[in-house]
């Protein structure tokens, strides 16, 4: 079967820093954390935790009031990121000239429209109402994000969402990649978004005892992947989108190509819901390298899953050491969740963007707040301050989710 090359021609996100893509990447390279201190007025006990919010995001401005009012916040993030990526790709939002019947959407979200349902529960149980707005179903459904994107951009091909916990958007991007590579789709809009600050969701995460503690002063440095002092992960809201395009189609229309997506592998540990195993991760990385036609020697950067949990980080490093062997000690690795937080279903998408920008600009963003390295996490080249002017050829982005689902994406820099 003849396989097509797959160009990344559009990148878009809702940045927790409030600015554009370049501003986002600059903040990351400067090691600046977007983590703030979330305090709510929820009853009976307000939330107070380190969290990454997007306070500058105004859905009415980004999407227009009529569209924004038909969406839950996770879909608003999705739509805004998708518009950003589409505009970045230089594609018109309304198209009459070209048939888009095989263009599609693959979105990732772990929680979907949880906020819409939570609002419903509040109305019913707290406010004593007996009925809910008829729009609740349409705001709450997980597939609302991909459906809105298909409608707004006039995409007539597959429109689907993937829910695989913290690997949701890695799998969405991977499945989108395969469709373009096989020729099933000319263009796929892909990515992920999530809004984990629903009261019931945030409280549930707290109960798992994997959340980093913090207050108004310490929240910014609360997430410390690979550090001996790490205390857990920091959740965040947001969305990120990529336009994947048949290489020849992109070249023919004179599109700017940010990078190439070249491989995708996914596995399951099939052993435990929350205790990761290196073996499953190793298989995912090896599958991805093989799929990409790359070897360990070709990889110049790994954007780690690196959530800063006690159990997760050492297992990921062990998996990298097993695959990269003699190369591991000089393999640059960073976990940017230390700054943009853990977007759950949106994580892999925002990290895919980070990885593509790293390759494109030859700059590796650091793992922030990594003071004292955990002895259990040694053996790779931890990047703790940004490295610029790097001739990066290819890179991986890891996503290792609850449920033991692993997904790895491989990207290659465009030869200039």
């Amino acid at each position: 079967m003849c396989q097509r090359r797959v160009a990344i021609t559009g990148l878009g996100l809702v940045s927790p820093y409030g600015g554009d893509l370049a501003d986002f990447f600059r903040h990351l390279c400067a090691g600046e954390s977007a983590v703030g201190y979330l305090q709510t007025d929820d009853l009976p006990r307000p939330l107070s935790m380190p969290f990454v919010s997007c306070p500058a995001f105004d859905p009415d401005v980004a999407l227009g009031k009529p569209l924004a009012s038909m969406m839950d916040r996770f879909a608003q993030f999705a739509m805004a990121a998708a518009f950003g990526a589409w505009d970045d790709a230089g594609l018109p939002r309304k198209n009459e000239a070209e048939n888009r019947d095989d263009w599609g959407v693959a979105w990732g979200t772990a929680l979907g429209g949880t906020m819409a349902y939570e609002k419903g529960y509040r109305e019913l149980w707290q406010k004593g109402r007996e009925r809910l707005s008829p729009l609740t179903v349409l705001l709450g459904m997980n597939s609302s994000a991909n459906a809105h994107i298909s409608i707004q951009l006039g995409l007539g091909g597959v429109s689907m969402s993937h829910t695989v916990a913290c690997a949701s958007s890695a799998i969405a991007i991977g499945e989108a990649f395969r469709r373009v590579r096989s020729g099933e789709a000319t263009v796929m809009l892909t990515g992920g978004s999530d809004v984990p600050q629903a009261y019931g969701v945030a409280r549930a995460w707290e109960a798992l005892r994997v959340m980093a503690p913090g207050d108004a002063e310490t929240s910014a440095t609360a997430c410390k992947p690979f550090s001996a002092e790490r205390r857990g992960l920091v959740l965040g809201e947001g969305g990120a989108a990529l336009v994947l395009e048949d290489w020849d189609h992109a070249v023919a229309r004179g599109a700017r190509i940010h990078g190439e997506i070249v491989g995708y592998g996914t596995t399951c540990d099939h052993s435990h819901l929350v205790r990761p195993e290196a073996e499953g991760q190793i298989r995912a990385i090896q599958l991805t390298l093989a799929d990409a036609g790359l070897t360990a020697a070709d990889i110049d950067y790994v954007n780690a899953h690196g959530t800063a949990t006690a159990e997760g980080d050492p297992v990921e490093v062990a998996a990298l050491k097993a695959v990269f062997a003699g190369r591991a000690a000089t393999l640059p690795v960073s976990a940017t969740k230390s700054m943009h937080g853990h977007l759950l279903g949106g994580s892999a998408a925002i990290e895919a963007i980070v990885t593509v920008l790293a390759l494109r600009d030859g700059s590796i963003p650091p793992t922030a707040h990594l003071g004292q390295l955990d002895p259990a996490c040694t053996g790779v080249d931890h990047v703790t301050t940004a490295r610029h002017g790097q001739p990066l050829r290819a890179a991986l982005s890891n996503s290792f989710a609850f449920g033991g689902s692993n997904a790895v994406l491989a990207f290659r820099a465009v030869d200039l």
Binding site: D60, G64, K65, P66, S69, M70, R131, S133, P134, L135, L138
Partner: protein, 79 residues
Amino acid sequence: MESIGLIRNFLKDRLGVEPENVVPGAALAELGVDSLMMLELMFEFEDRFGIKLSRDIKTPRSVGEMVSLMDRLIAQSKS
């Protein structure tokens, strides 16, 4: 004239339509009210006035039709 006020507030809040454009002759579709928004508007109306609309009600097409429908139902519920 409670009905026109409710419609104006709703359209301003949900669709950003300026109240001066919400006049009896205006077609609801042209103001951006599709079938889903109509469902939501009916829901608001039911909620505000404690009325239950029958399911086979004829869908109004203009602001004027909507106002007469609402006014009629409010009057019925009071009598």
